[in-house]
């Protein structure tokens, strides 16, 4: 952890700007660019401020970075990006990508993403990541040169394709199951929360009508007039307060969303493992059958039915030279196969080891973060109630003076 980049460097995504430019297909488009500012942290100097480096990046570049990390570090639970399009909105929130509130929340999300990567013990050391932060021009080319797209296993893209693994690792199966459940429960939660926010908004806003009526009523009253008028004012305050309250709640929703997407990253690691296991089993199977073939040829016994065996029986056997040649080829293949199997096994074990280490790290991070998120949510709720108490106490006072 001491080597992690986040300790050495201050990273912020400080601004967002609307831009127009030409995209890859030479079509004019509007997009938002984000300013990334970095500054080296001098550990022993006080009052000395290192110069700030900055460059602009757009969302698609962040996506590119993340895809690169996903492929290059398949055993790591890679931090997610903030959502591409506004989802789980309740009626007042805009679903427009250009909406300033959305852009602002995305800016925060992107900063969070960079900080997460920078504080990850493995990811922070990646050179491409470092240049993403520091090198304005030519970064895209650099990434593409790594050829990571070729490494990307297209099979992983088919999310629901099943691979029949004979000896699945129970831990990974459980983990995958957990990540599925987590995704489902968090998205349910976010959906209901959006509806709750919507309704709460309605309740508060209708109270604003009280304000108007009290005001009108106070005009015809003598002794009750002042009391009503000021009470009406409090009702207006009450109705207006919901806007801030719900804005704060959006942050909570964003925190949950991060973990919704994290669940997907977790799932990806499990899938990768599944795939590796599958490849391993396939390779082992292939090796076994080749060995068998070899044995059959050598001993002349046909243990398994094969068309070749049948045809050779029917149409005469091959010459000993042909057989020798075949055996030799097979023996070479078997040797290759055994080496491959060995390295695959090693790969597999390494993968499991490092993946599991990162998963443990992730679990701790998740528990810590979510606990904090829940606490801050509770604090928000309490503060909302306190405000409510205050407004109604004030109103009560006004009424008592009537």
């Amino acid at each position: 952890m001491e080597d992690c980049l986040a300790k050495k460097m201050e990273i912020t995504v400080s601004e967002a700007e609307k831009r127009t430019g030409r995209n890859a297909m030479n079509i004019q488009e509007t997009y938002t660019a984000y300013l990334i500012e970095t500054r080296a942290v001098e550990s022993q100097s006080e009052g000395q401020c290192a110069p700030v480096d900055s460059l602009w990046r757009r969302y698609s570049e962040f996506e590119l970075l993340r895809n690169y990390l996903l492929v290059t570090y398949p055993h790591i639970v890679v931090p997610p990006l903030p959502e591409k399009r506004a989802d789980f909105v309740w009626h007042k929130l805009s679903a427009d990508n250009m909406d300033p509130d959305f852009v602002e929340r995305r800016r925060i999300g992107l900063e969070n993403f960079l900080l997460r990567v920078a504080s990850h013990p493995v990811l922070c050391q990646d050179k491409i990541f470092y240049s993403f932060l520091t090198q304005e021009g030519g970064w895209k080319e650099m990434v593409n040169e790594t050829g990571f797209q070729l490494k990307a296993d297209s099979r992983l893209k088919a999310l629901n394709a099943t691979f029949r693994v004979k000896n699945p690792d129970k831990r990974f199966t459980e983990l995958k199951h957990y990540s599925d459940e987590l995704q489902s429960v968090i998205s349910h939660l976010l959906r209901v929360r959006a509806r709750v926010a919507d309704r709460l908004y309605g309740v508060y806003k209708v109270h604003g009508n009280y304000g108007r009526v009290f005001s009108e009523w106070s005009a015809i009253e003598k002794e009750m007039g002042d009391g009503l008028q000021s009470a009406g004012h409090h009702m207006d305050v009450y109705a207006a307060s919901i806007d801030d309250i719900l804005e704060e709640e959006e942050h909570y929703a964003d925190q949950l969303k991060e973990y919704l997407f994290y669940a997907e990253a977790l799932r990806a690691v499990c899938r990768k493992h599944e795939l590796m296991q599958y490849d391993l089993e396939m390779a082992a199977q292939d090796l076994t059958s080749k060995k068998q073939q070899c044995e059959e040829l050598a001993t002349g016994t046909v243990r398994t039915f094969s068309l070749k065996g049948m045809t050779s029986k029917l149409f005469g056997q091959e010459s000993p030279e042909q057989r020798e040649a075949k055996i030799k080829v097979l023996e070479e293949q078997i040797q290759e196969g055994e080496e491959q199997l060995k390295s695959k096994n090693l790969e597999g074990r390494d993968f499991v080891k490092s993946a599991w280490a990162d998963i443990e790290r992730f679990k701790e991070q998740k528990n810590h973060d979510l606990k904090e998120a829940l606490i801050s949510y509770a604090v928000m709720q309490i503060s909302m109630c306190k405000k409510g108490i205050q407004v109604w106490t004030n109103a009560k006072e006004c009424f008592s003076k009537m």
Partner: protein, 366 residues
Amino acid sequence: QDLSLPNGTPVDTSSPASSSSLLNRLQLDDDLDGETRDLFVTVDDPKKHVCTMETYITYRVTTKTTRAEFDLPEYSVRRRYQDFDWLRNKLEESQPTHLIPPLPEKFVVKGVVDRFSEEFVETRRKALDKFLKRITDHPVLSFNEHFNVFLTAKDLNAYKKQGMALLSKVGESVKYVTGGYKLRSRPLEFAAIGEYLETFSLKLGTIDRIAQRIIKEQLEYLVELREYGPVYSTWGGLEVELSEPLEGVSACIGNCCTALEELSEDMTEDFLPVLREYILYSESMKNVLKKRDQVQAEYEAKLEAVALRKEDRQKVPADVEKCQDQVECFNADLKADMERWQNNKRQDFRQLLMGMADKNIQYYEK
């Protein structure tokens, strides 16, 4: 001068001074504020009665008094809504110049509400209790003969039949001509009262609608909350370390649901009925004002008639004077009642809105 207060005290209404003395007397009663009250009435203990023809509810009306008009110091009788309705009509007939408090609505507004449900019966009981208490507090109405019978008679139906058979006495009813006379000029103060009542009942109507809307929105919010809480619980089931805090959140949301339910119930049971009551009050007040207008119109018309006819001096003056008296009495009574009504209303609303504020505060504290 054959006008007298129902309790037998003669009143001199020919000079303005007497009106104000009447006012003073009434206000004096007000200031006593229960310390030397001599009449206490309560409505409680609703019971369902099932008969062959119908099913209905009766309420126990308990009276405690030291007044000479009553034979016994204590009474306990059973009355049903019909009886209250009868009482109100009788009071309107016999004290037409006074404001009679409103009764809760006769018919249930929404067909969905059960006439025999606990909430409905309780709401009605409270309203009936308030009705009788208001009459009890009224220095004139509380001495009304019909009121006395209502509180004391074992068999009210017999009395009712008796009342219908008798011709109405002169002193008991003032005749109204429907729409015959046009009013010359309405005294400013009554015009003002009329305008005030118009706006007042409008505003109350609006508040009623707002309150109902709020309750509706709150209930919809409640529905969503009820789904929200359990999701945290489900999540807690998935987790190990986080399961406790997640369960905690779920439980808290559950508490919020309960508290919200209580708030909505309280608003429906306590706040809305009072609003409606005052709307009804305004309506009956408007009617009284109309009557007042008509009496004044009659008076003016008669005055005109006298001015035209120069003979018949003996007969008409009595007539006119009678009208004049009636009008003056009317005015005075009305003004007195209005004063008291305003005061009461202020207190009622104060309590009401404070109650609403309180409930909201309690909700948030929970």
